[in-house]
Symmetry: C2
Subunit: 182 residues, 2 copies
């Protein structure tokens, strides 16, 4: 079990809602999914070819004017594959925070440097949080128009709650680092 390649599952998940090109899939990754998942062209395009070969997706020509364009859609087999993956237990939730890594080794660089990393982190979170709260508001307004909105809202709320916790931590962390001059 658990032989599913993640990239296949994400793509099928996106295709289960709408037909998309590889480029559009990448855009979804960089907007809706970017707070908890990522994927590069180097994994998307080969995976799309693979999915078609295995009968989990179909491709059709969507060329308009001169620009070539390949639109992918999910097949019945693809939908079953996705559903099976969805019902399997989660294998791994993983954080990869370079900020924490640098702080862990912070004694080697000193408090000023550590403080700078915390401030940079704080600014990034403060910059991004408004997008999450506004997304949550929008989703709440249109919660009844599509069943999927409820599930999108769950992930956005996760972001909001954790981002607020991050900001609290930033203040505490700076306080801990400042304690040396007591």
């Amino acid at each position: 079990m658990a032989i599913e390649k993640k990239i296949d599952c994400v793509i099928l998940g996106l295709l289960s809602h709408e037909d998309l090109t590889g480029y559009e899939i990448k855009k979804r990754m960089d907007t809706s999914l970017k707070y908890f998942w990522g994927a590069s062209y180097g994994s998307i395009y080969p995976a799309l070819g693979d999915l078609v070969e295995r009968g989990l997706a179909n491709k059709r020509d969507g060329t308009e004017n001169k620009r070539n364009k390949i639109i992918y859609s999910i097949t019945e087999a693809g939908r079953n594959y996705l559903k099976e993956w969805l019902q399997n237990p989660v294998e791994k939730d993983e954080l990869r925070y370079e900020t924490l890594l640098k702080l862990f080794f912070g004694s080697e660089g000193g408090a000023v440097q550590a403080m700078a990393h915390i401030n940079a982190f704080q600014e990034k979170i403060e910059r991004e949080l408004p997008y999450l709260t506004s997304a949550a508001n929008t989703l709440r307004n249109y919660i009844d128009t599509d069943d999927a909105h409820k599930y999108y809202l769950l992930t956005v709320e996760f972001g909001i709650k954790t981002y607020r916790a991050y900001l609290e931590w930033c203040e505490e962390a700076k306080a801990i680092l400042g304690e040396e001059n007591k």
Copy 2:
């Protein structure tokens, strides 16, 4: 800039505190660092060889009895390399939460299934949180014995704050999913 391979930096960071074998490095990854970073043998052993070749680490024989053992230590050049990486701005903080991915596509699997994923997530967090709080207490008790303890505490506090936020979110998420029967 930013040509540093992460695995090199983590290893040098660990070696900056104490001499270690590859096996011990892996153990540190799976305990102290596991909440925000990970690494496999497949990256550790090749990286160690590389670091020695580049003069950033030294290896010496630590064989006891019949068991062969290679102990690595950081060189002066390695310490400089580490310090440079530490002062460079953070490139990327990344979440890879399969739980959120499955929830995002939750409308395909339904509320019962989504609820199960949330519960599994909640149980995992509740199981792990006590280790973090106890680690924080220990570190607080020995905060003055080693400058590094302060920095370790920062990362543990990060874990505690975010884990508590996760638990709050679990309750809210289940409430949102339950709203259909209003």
